[in-house]
Symmetry: C2
Subunit: 141 residues, 2 copies
DNA sequence: CTTATATATGATTATATGTTCATATGTATA
DNA sequence: TATACATATGAACATATAATCATATATAAG
C-alpha cells in the first residue's frame, strides 16, 4: 500500500539531483531512487490504455443509464430506447460500445435482441462507482 | 438483482401494445408494465451525469497511469511528471481533473505539493477496473 | 523587495466522440 | 419471394477534451 500519513521517510534519504540550471524542473526535481523503484511496478502503457477504455466506456451519462437499467433487468433494444427516451439508433450505437468492452451481453429471440450485464463483476464495478459519488462530495447537478 | 438466466417470465404476461402503424418502433414495442415498473427505480439524470463524470475522469490513459503511480506511493507533481514522461503542465492539468472528482488529495510541503489517492475506496474502484480487463478478454494492444 | 523554483491555469489547437439521418442486415410471416 | 419490423451501422456534424505554450500564483531564500 501507499504511505501517505505523516512525513516523508525514505523520501528524504534519496540522492537528490536538483538541476539548478533548468528554469522549470525539466529533468527531475526530486527522489530519483523512489522514482526508479516505482517505475518498475507501473502498469504497462497498453494496459493503461485498455483500462482507460473501459472507464471511458462507462464515462457517458447515456451509457450509465443503460447500465443502470440493465442492472435491474434485461431489456430488448426497443424497450431500452423507450425506457430511457432515446432513439433506436442511439441506443444501438451505445450498446455496441458497451459490448466492445464486454460490459453487456445479449441473446437473440426472434427479431428482438435482449441485453443484460455481462456478469456480476461488471455489476460490482458499476456499484463501486455509485458508492463513490454517494459519499456526499461534489454536490453539483 | 436482475434475472437474466432462463426464459423471460413476467415479461410474457405484459400488456403488449405493438404500434403497428409506426415504421420503426417509435412509441414502444414491448413490455409496457415492465418498463413502467423499472422506470421508477432508475438512477436520476443528475446522478447518472455525475457518475459518468467520475468514470470519464478515469477514462484517460494518462490519468490511469497517474492513478496507478499514486496507488503505489504519493508523489509530488514534478516526480509524477518525470516518472510518467509528462510535461509539468500536462501533469498538473490532469491532477486537477482527478482532484475535481475527489479521486486524489494533496498536501503542501514548502514549494512542493504531494498527491495521493483520496482514500481506499478510490483504490477499490481502480482495482475493480483492473480486474475486469484482466479477465482474458479483448486482447488488443 | 527580488530572485528562483514548484505548481496552477487560461487560451489555442488537434483529436475524439455522441447523436442524428439514412440505410443495411436479420428474422418472421404471408 | 415479398413485406414488416427489430436491430445494426456508415457518414456527417457538433461538441468535448488532452496536450502545448505562455503566464500566473505560491513559497522559500537572499
Amino acid at each position: 500500500m501507499a504511505r501517505n500519513t505523516e512525513e516523508p521517510e525514505n523520501r528524504l534519504s534519496e540522492s537528490r539531483t536538483q538541476s539548478s540550471d533548468s528554469p522549470v524542473c525539466e529533468i527531475l526535481c526530486v527522489h530519483t531512487d523512489l522514482i526508479e523503484s516505482v517505475r518498475k511496478t507501473l502498469i504497462p502503457g497498453g494496459q493503461a490504455h485498455h483500462l482507460a477504455d473501459l472507464f471511458k466506456t462507462l464515462g457517458d451519462p447515456t451509457r450509465v443509464r443503460i447500465m443502470d437499467a440493465l442492472a435491474k433487468n434485461e431489456f430488448c433494444v426497443c424497450d431500452l430506447a423507450e425506457l430511457l427516451g432515446l432513439s433506436q439508433s442511439a441506443t444501438s450505437h451505445q450498446l455496441r460500445v458497451l459490448r466492445s468492452d464486454n460490459l453487456v451481453k445479449y441473446r437473440r429471440e426472434g427479431k428482438m435482441v435482449y441485453y443484460s450485464l455481462d456478469d456480476d463483476h461488471v455489476m460490482a464495478l458499476y456499484r463501486e462507482g455509485l458508492e463513490h459519488i454517494s459519499e456526499g462530495r461534489k454536490e453539483t447537478y
